[in-house]
Amino acid sequence: MVEMTPEQIEKLKAVGRMQKDKLLQLGKDFTANNEKYDATIFTCNATSCHSGGGQNVYEALKQALETAGLTDRVRLVATGCMGLCAAGPMTRIEIKGRRPFLYKEMTPDVAHLIVEQHIKPLLGHPEIELKLAPHLEEKELSMDLPFFTKQRRVVLKHLGSSDPEDLGEYVANGGYQALIKCLFEMTPEQVLDEIKKSGLRGRGGGGFPTGKKWELLAKAPLVDGEKFIICNGDEGDPGAYMDSCILGGGAHSVLEGMLIAAYATGATSGWFYVRAEYPLALERVELAIKQAKKAGILGKNIFGTDFSFMAELRIGAGAFVCGEETALMMSLEGNKGTPRPRPPYPTEKGLFQKPTIINNVETWANVPQIILNGADWFASVGTETSKGTKVFALTGKVKHSGLVEVPMGTTVKEMVEDVGGGTSTGKPFKAVQTGGPSGGVIPAKELNLPLCYEELKKIGSMMGSGGMIVMDESDSMVEIAKFYLGFTVDESCGKCAPCRLGGYQMLKLLTKIAAGKGTHADLEKIKEIGSAMQKGSLCGLGQTSPNPVLSTIKYFPEEYEALLQDKDEKKGC
């Protein structure tokens, strides 16, 4: 690399200072332009709604506005995830001076009706009564549903009410102002202290204190002039899509979190590692990086300071184990993704043997909010040891299935009955499964359990990245345990014996039991193997893969018992 002369650096910095003003102006321009509109139609085009026809709804609304000649008075926005995916595609109408109004299960054929009956009469007359055709009225979704009122959206705040592709709108909503605050008003040490003080813990599952992790990297010296940070977007838990939606609807907030970490720790570049199965998330990360480069948010001497940082996108290739940090780094280096023993920890020898930290998508997205609103604000939400909010993908047999964000400490009961609206089948609720293939079940009798790291661990499950599957009376716990174990056996990389052989043998025994051919001895053997895997496996995948089996045996022993051949022999399990 050619060294720059002091004059060249000064020139670069002058450009950077201008870029900062230009970026802030972009936000102001957006606000000024937005004020011209009398109404806004937000229509969800995140993965779930998009799959359900969201794009067609958007096109139909666009057409209807054009036909009505209202394009200069009504803004139409294709947004990120609005949350209630089961009722998608969703569309929200906001008319100045009036409460927002939500439509569920949108179809293209009602688009012109919405424009004619809802928007046209109310434009400029927000006080008049809304008169809708009966089949349009049926599509109203109350904004007073506990699904909405019980949530506290911090990370997801702007997802359903902004254009994820508009950098100006992100800035108008406070975006990149946390970064600017860090660069111009705070020292790296102060940023680090703020994150430590906030109590933020990793949202990918383990719950390691984020500030502590950053501190380790800050203390690590540069190796060949480099230190790295990684965004783990390899959301492999089947049935969880929080990171997909956060990246798809708010890629800039994740990038901003990474930039702030880089400033605090001295990292020189960042890597996004995102699942190939998430085309929308990939597209938006790529766009965010491109926009940030152009706006001078990424590059050398950012905003005229001495801080430089670059970010790149790398795509996963469908291996669950790559969510494990050492396996992820192997994959990023262009190898098959198998884990390696720690120590050395990534902060000593990480990606390409350079000091590295890895945080999950949601963790990164929390960072700008902490800087903007302060550590105390963040720590005021949640429990003693689990601060802030947590995003969950609430799915399975629950009425209001979707993406939700609640304060840490919200109880299982509140999640299932209030936010989720109870079971979708009307049958009694039996259990929820959290933490995916690494987690366990929470039985109905533990309804008052607060959702936080410690409590979940205590009952044999884990927070995981936020998958939450609701099951009713008709679901067999043995079946669900078999499903998860089948998944982890399939995804085991095969490097260490406890995971490779233990999982396989355990699955064989479990299949035998499920088929009604097992015995008490088999059940005991399963527990024994499970315990050996937890203690002896090399990485998190193997250590946690017995959890779904062991936790269902613990809470639903009668279901296993009923399947055993020698069930009448009193042994208990």
């Binding site: 993965t47 779930s48 799959s51 359900g52 209630l84 995916c85 089961a86 009722a87 998608g88 492999g236 838990d237 089947p238 049935g239 969880a240 899509y241 997909s244 939606c245 190939a276 199965e277 998430y278 790398r314 795509i315 996963g316 290739a317 469908g318 291996a319 669950f320 994959s331 990023l332 280096e333 262009g334 190898n335 098959k336 993704g337 390409f352 993908a393 799915t395 399975g396 047999k397 299935s401 979707g402 499964q433 995916g436 998958g467 599957i469 099951m471 679901d475 669900i480 499903f483 998860y484 998944f487 990389c493």
Partner: protein
């Protein structure tokens, strides 16, 4: 390898040559170009990037996402993520396999359909879900499978 294919691989090589950890990305682009990772093209890519074929093959077989054989014209992805599983994703697959006469991971004899099981497509609210060449079928029941397949067959005049 045809000249045309070589030119496509050359473009990928130019993009990733000299970059760190390029292999997985280059393989993604190969699959993007050809629908799968063809052997000869991968071999050429490896030679030019200085990566032994053994390592390329290791990655191709390790990662689920890569295909080493050309899939059928229409790729059917049946989701067996947890949400889809407990809502009947497995029975969708059974019905598909019965209807097409091939197990998951294979292509029908006429080369039309390739069936694969995927783990979560990120639209759990629509569970159970199946996707055919980018078209999503949500809240699906087994009785609809036949008519959906017939719609795709009709495109081919079959």
């Amino acid at each position: 390898m045809t000249e045309e294919n070589k030119a496509k691989v050359d473009a990928i090589i130019r993009k990733w040559s000299g970059k760190r950890g390029a292999l997985i990305m280059a393989l993604h682009e190969l699959q993007g170009q050809f629908g799968y990772v063809p052997w000869e093209e991968a071999l050429y890519l490896g030679q030019e990037l200085g990566i032994p074929m053994a390592k390329i093959y290791e990655c191709l077989t390790f990662y689920n996402y890569f295909k080493v054989k050309a899939p059928g014209k229409y790729v059917i992805s049946v989701c067996d993520g947890t949400a889809c599983h407990i809502k009947g994703g497995a029975s969708l697959l059974e019905e598909l396999e019965k209807e097409l006469g091939v197990p998951a991971g294979t292509t029908t004899d006429d080369g039309l359909f390739y069936v694969q099981v995927v783990r979560c497509l990120g639209c759990c609210g629509l569970a159970p879900v199946m996707v055919i060449n980018g078209v999503t079928y949500g809240k699906l029941t087994t009785d609809k499978i036949k008519s959906i397949l017939n719609e795709w067959r009709a495109k081919e005049g079959k």
